[in-house]
Structure formats: C-alpha cells, structure tokens
Amino acid sequence: MTSPAPAAPGLKPFAAMLRREFAGYFRTPLAYVFLAVFNAFAVSLAFFVGGLYESGVASLDRFFLYHPWLWAFLAPAAGARLWAEERRQGTLELLLTWPITVWQAALGKFLAAWLFLACALLMTLPVAFTVGWLGDPDWGVILSGYAGSLLCAGACLGIAAIASALTRSQVIAFVTGFLACFLLVLVGYGVFDELLTGLLGQEGLFIRWRQFVFRVTVDDFRQLGLWRNLEPFTLGLVDARPVAYFLSVAFAGLGLSTIIVERR
C-alpha cells in the first residue's frame, strides 16, 4: 500500500445503484406507458374477460387469474434494460471498473426493477377497494393474492434478467424473456401434456444417479406453471412450496444473469 485506503464504502454502492436504477425507469416516458398498459390490461381482463362484476362474488380471484399472462409480458419489458442497455451504451465497462461488486450491482438493479413492478401492482389497488365497496371481501385473501402476484412478477423478472444479460439489444432481451415466461404460463395449463407424455412416457422418466432414482412425470412439469403456483395465494393459502418456487426462479435468474455478466 502506498497511501491510506479510502474508507470501505459498505452498502453505499448498492444503495446508489438501487436509487439510480429505480429513478431510471421514470427518466423516460416508457415507464408511464408501462404503468398505464399494466393497469388498463389488469382491470380490463378482470372485468371484461373474467367477468369480475357479473360473478357477484366479492373476491379478486378473477383479477389475479390473468396476472401470470401480464407479468410474462410486462416483466421482460421492464427487465430488458437491466444489462442490455449497459452493454449498448458501453457503460458496463465503466460500472465494472467502479468499486462495486457485480453481485451488488446486479442485486441493486434487480430489486429496483422489482420495486418498479410493485408500483405497477400497487396502482391496481382501486380494484380491491371497488370490490370492498361492492361487497364484503376477505382482506386477508386479497393481501395474499397481491403477495403472490408480486412473487410471480419476481420470478418473471429473474428470467428477464438472464435474457438481458445475454444480449446488447433490449428488443432481443424482451422477446427472449417473454417467450421463456410464456412457456412457464402454458406448461401449467397442460398445453404440452401430449408432447411431454411422448417424451417422458406414461410412467414418467426415471433418472438414476448413484443409489438414487428420480422420477420425472408430466405432472412435475405442470407444477412449474406460473398460475398453478399463484392460484393458492388467490385462495388465501400461503404455502411454502409456491413461495419457494417463485423465489427460486427469481434468485436463480438473478444469480445466473450475474454469472453471465461476470464471465463476459
């Protein structure tokens, strides 16, 4: 050492990253377009397609039913800029030579994006209040529905982060992320059941590793569906399994995207 080291920055770099990224969403009109589109679709789908009003039930399950579709489209739209924009502008080189670890930078970016999606979700609260005004809903169930939707958004964002780390084009990042999320929506509805049965066989696929035997069935794939994991939340059931599923996908996406950026 040739001179006293500057004070250790601690969490300051992470906090600075989080602030910049979150504010970054509102620097362009795109954020407002995003929020408007999310709200318009969330409300329209619930009322006009789901028949929330006609059902005569003071519940938001018909509102949350479409959230996997919405997040599959809009989380990749919000997450496309995470790394692709840094690569396009050439600022990734700058960022990675500043005293912040890639993990701190990645977590700051990811949480900022998740917070932005949370804002979009919070803006739909008038739907809940409307249901509260029209009837007598179980507010605990509504709260768990919102929590599930937010977790579902995080999982889609994790996938979007990987797509964004792989390219310098936001458009390619968005399309790739959307397709991957779309697949996770469809698999839960059993769209690929026949195809998967053909591939895995009626009994499922047996994988042997040392003394262990793993059986992978078509139903296991179905368990990966976004709606299948969100549904319990909309019924007021906060089960450990779907929570673990959403968080695993979110943080696996975050981790993998960070490794991709680190190994550039």
Partner: protein, 234 residues
C-alpha cells in the same frame, strides 16, 4: 512500491493472441504514453489493468492491490475512462457525477461533484442531459468521472480522441496539473502528445512491448516521430 504494476499479462481471443507477456510498472509522478497502432493490444492491456477483463495469465496491481483478488480495494484507487468515454446518456452531467460519487462512497459527494465540475469546466452544462452534449463535452464528462475521487492511479484510453485543438490543450493542462501526485497511463495515437504530456513512453505492437523508455530517449530516436513509430511497430 509502484502504483501500477503489470506482470506478464497475456490475453487471447480465440486463436488471436491480443496481449502476450506484457510487464511494466508505473510510479507516482509518471505520465506514461501508451502508444501503438489500432489492434496492437493497448485497450486490452488497459482493460486487464482496470479489472474489466480477466487476464489469461499474469497479474495486475493497482496501488498494491491485485485487481482480480482485491478488486474493490484496487478500484477505489483507480480512475478510468474507457475509449469513447461512455456515460449514462439519459442523466444530466451533475446527476451522473453524483451517482459516481455515491457509488464510490465518497465522504462529501456534493463537494466532490462541485470541485470536479469546476476542474473540468463543466459547470455550464451541469444540468444538461449527457445525450445532448457535443463530443468534446462528453469526453470531458468521461474524464471528470475518472478524476472525481482524486485517485492515485489514472488510466485514460484515448482521452483526447475527437477533440478540437483547444479541448485537447485543456485536457492536457488538467492532466499536467494532476500528474505530480499520480501514476497516469494515457493511450493515444497522437505522437505530439508524447512531447507535450508524457514523462515516459511504452510502445506496444502485436500484443508485445516494443519499447519502454523515458520521453527524452524516445524523442532522441529521430526527428520524425511517425517514422520512429512505424519502425517500432513494424
């Protein structure tokens, strides 16, 4: 201990050997002109020194810290402006510098930004979006973020590229003012910069160091620096 130390750095891109066994060190007070034709390995060497690229072999130290193993500590002592001075175009100059100051965890970020804006004569465009600036100003913004924390080590990749003569003079003036307390590496194609700015010259070609000597020795090689350059890099 030298402030910048490159030990046997090598880097390949597939079959192409971009940098091959490059070693040198830079002490406080030295301004090293890093010369070489396009594709010689200058930027790759700088990227390895700054920790942006991982070396295939060898090591790099900034202020005594290994850029691979003690990356954050090393980067605290480093100011780096990559080629083309990239910056977040949607931010204003002040916002960008403030972000850099916050990210570096500086004790008084507002004062650091104010001082740097004055030093780089950026006050008049401080509230302007970086995307709307001329190339000259953008290069100065890139330079400003590199000196914001008054680092001991400055690595600048073509900091005067695309600037008009007045702007070049301005950047050189600031660099000269700072040089006494820092170790500086400046990559350039502009041979006149050697005489005006540098205390030492390293010429690199085909990924290898072809010459590493004092400015005086380099200038004594011949009156026609272009011919000297061609001969060294052939």
């Amino acid at each position: 201990m030298p402030l910048i130390e490159a030990k046997h750095l090598s880097k390949s891109y597939g079959a192409l050997r971009a940098v091959s066994d490059v070693s040198f060190s830079v002490d406080r007070g030295e301004v090293v002109g890093f010369l070489g034709p396009n594709g010689a390995g200058k930027s790759t060497t700088m990227k390895m020194l700054t920790g942006h690229l991982r070396a295939d072999a060898g090591s790099a130290h900034i202020a005594g810290f290994d850029v691979a193993d003690e990356a954050v500590r090393a980067k605290q002592h480093l100011g780096y402006s990559p080629e083309g001075a990239p910056a977040y175009g949607e931010m204003t100059v002040r916002e960008f510098l403030r972000f850099a100051a916050d990210l570096r965890g500086l004790a008084d970020p507002a004062e650091s930004v104010r001082r740097t804006l004055a030093l780089c004569r950026l006050e008049e465009v401080a509230a302007q979006g970086i995307d709307t600036l001329s190339k000259g100003y953008r290069m100065r913004v890139g330079f400003a973020q590199a000196v914001l924390h008054d680092p001991e080590v400055l690595i600048l990749d073509e900091p005067t590229d695309g600037l008009d003569p007045n702007q070049k003079h301005e950047v050189r003036r600031i660099l000269k003012e700072m040089a006494a307390t820092k170790a500086v590496i400046v990559s350039t194609h502009i041979l006149e910069e050697v005489g005006e700015l540098c205390t030492r010259v390293i010429v690199i070609a085909k990924g290898e160091v072809r010459c590493d000597e004092s400015r005086e020795k380099f200038l004594a090689r011949g009156a026609d620096l272009n011919a000297v350059f061609r001969q060294l890099t052939a």
